[in-house]
Symmetry: C2
Subunit: 139 residues, 2 copies
DNA sequence: GGTACAACCTCTAGCGACTAGAGGGACAAG
DNA sequence: CTTGTCCCTCTAGTCGCTAGAGGTTGTACC
């Protein structure tokens, strides 16, 4: 009926120290304890921690996760806030993709065509030393 | 002829505390000092710090930058090592793009179609609570 | 009941690459 | 000589964990 922290870790795929960490920052509430002081969890803890893990894997930061937990506990409130959080995060992800894509182009153009030159003629080093050789000023 | 740290910052676009930080981790060598103990830089410091800034903007980590600096100081050595660093970094960037793109799809599918529902029926919360609703197990 | 050993506990420190702030000294212009 | 801006060092904080030290509890087996 009650699990140890190790069992909870196995059930959810979240590492033991991470579970304790989540408790310390208030993402998980304090669990019951055994007589000897060890943490004891129930089924609802598995659900909550799985929720947290999933949100983290989707890239939400801890504050967003906190907010999403509060929202999920209030089924009657409107969906707009949750939507807002996801939309904002989606925009951030798209931003990152755009930046990384520009970066990829820059790096691809940087690579020495001739793999056997000397540093003196190496495009990599030249480009690094002279930003003017880049296509995109933004990076 | 010699610049203060603030002037170096203005020339290169690197913030003053960051310059001191780079010195502390050995990316920049220790500069001359004024009689009163303030840092004094020359033209070659601008070149080196610009090189560093550029490499950082391209996403190279500090260890890579360190290596690239050493390489750039040895024009006679072959280009292969520099090439290796850039290729490795390029692969990392491509990896990140792939992961973020998968994430974007997942998030896009998560967003509530109806913006005026309640949390109880909100896809966002449902998906978070149940990983089975995701297309991609990898995240 | 004893013993072994894995799993648990708390606490502190470290990662990367900065950034912020406190509390004070140096320098240039007027 | 004063004003004000810049500079100095040092410490601590950011984010989300992760690693390790040093000690305690729980459980399985004999």
């Amino acid at each position: 009926m009650l699990f140890s922290i190790g069992e909870l870790a196995r059930e959810t795929g979240v590492k033991v120290p991470t579970i304790r960490f989540y408790e310390s920052i208030g993402l998980l509430s304090e669990p019951l304890r055994s007589e000897g002081g060890q943490r004891r969890y129930g089924a609802e803890d598995i659900a909550r921690l799985s929720f947290i893990r999933h949100a983290r894997q989707l890239g939400f930061d801890v504050d967003d996760v906190r907010e999403l937990i509060v929202l999920s506990a209030n089924p009657d409130r409107p969906c707009t806030e949750a939507d807002e959080i996801v939309h904002r995060h989606l925009r951030e992800v798209e931003d990152k993709i755009a930046k990384l894509t520009a970066l990829r182009e820059e790096l691809a153009r940087m690579v020495c065509g001739t793999r056997h030159g000397r540093i003196g003629e190496c495009r990599v080093i030249q480009v690094l030393a002279d930003h003017g050789q880049c296509h995109d000023d933004a990076h």
